[in-house]
Amino acid sequence: MRYEKPTTVEAATALLAGQGARVLAGGTDLLVQMRSRVLSPDVLVDIKGIDATRKITKDASGYTIGAAVTGAELKEHPTLSKDWPGLVEAANLIGSTQVQGRCSLGGNLCNGSPAADSVPGMIAAGAVATIAGPKGTRTLPVEDIMLAPRKLALTAGEFIVSFKIPARPAHGGDAYLRFIPRTEMDIAVVGCGVALALDAGGTCTAARVSLGAVAARPLLVEDGAKALIGTKVDDAALAKLEAAVRAACKPIDDKRGTVEFRIDVAGTLAKRTAKIALERARKV
């Protein structure tokens, strides 16, 4: 097995186009899978040598966050936690503190688990991935990247360089909650990200609702957004949100919970998440 650390996107895509190559960002998921012999790469391509994967930049149109930026670095950014607290919280729920120092948004997404913590937070925020490949660069909304467990909409040689997060709307707020059996280390039973924006009168003008761990891939629940848009996000609207979220879930039975349990908790969680997003939107 080889370890390579290219410094340019072109060098990275060339390596990744080869047989048995895998992207290495933080390494936390990858190493675990290599040890349990689920994966056996021939080449590890460490993308952290590429500047664009490690930076967070802010401009009028929003944030560009490198795919290998860690959860801890997201938290330390001076303004990101204020603008997108839900996204930052979601990224910092990945694993224990020691893992937070190393895990990345890109890695969490590309691991291809429907239960990935940071993904609903990104989807709710409207994150769009910038993908580099042998044929050039393209963009794709995060909700379109994971197709099924361990199956990504990336082709040979492609990797995610960074994510574009829009500027936070004037009266916007986001939140992420998840429900897990015991602690952060465990795999989520349900994860929910909600972002919404209000007009000056307090009516919701835009919303995005995303769920993790309740289907074969993280979901963008459009009916959930519709339940909130045009309302003051009162109890009636939240009840509709809860119902829409429950209708969208397609979870499985496993040792962490039955189908009914996960569907029920997803609805409860969505309401709680929306309430936090609402409070945040009202404060700014």
């Binding site: 080889r2 390579e4 390596l15 998921d29 349990s36 056996s40 790469p41 020691q98």
Partner: protein, 210 residues
Amino acid sequence: MSTDAEHTGSQGRSDPPARVTRRAALQTAASAVAFATAPASNAQQTGPTTSAAAEGSTIRLIVNGQPRTLSVDPRQSILDILRETLDLTGTKKGCNAGACGACTVLLNGQRINSCLALAAMHDGAEITTIEGLAKGDDLHPLQQAFIERDGLQCGYCTPGQIMSGVACISEGHAGSVQEIKAWMSGNICRCGAYAGIVEAISDVAKGGKL
């Protein structure tokens, strides 16, 4: 950290195979085990070329203040380098999967699970292990606090707990019992000495001795 545990169990296996077959990739892995001694330059990258590592590579680490130059296999973790190459056995292997915290060390001042840190990725890093905390005969305040507060029983998780605790305090995450419990949740203690561990960290955080 999330893995796909939902569809096929945490190992990703469904039906056990009738024959245990050889995996083609193993051919590569088996031959990569032997250490390559040809040095490769990872230290500086000039220009847009890749800095390629051969089967093995040389890295430089500063471990407990001592500069070390090491030949490493690309699959070796910092934990294995510490224990097997440098004979610093104070850091423990509890699960080798980043889930128990027994292998916690400080890397450039930050706490990491050394079992999940590929050595090859960390050329130039400064590492502090449990052996590097005390100054001669003077114990680090947190080591002393662990002893005073009965924060250990079998001692196996203890080096990881202490290193993690040092960082927890320097991160500013030791402001209350609840905060300490949350931010130390990456370190398992099966003997159940959590009460003493939290008190020890709290003592040192309050006392400002760090």
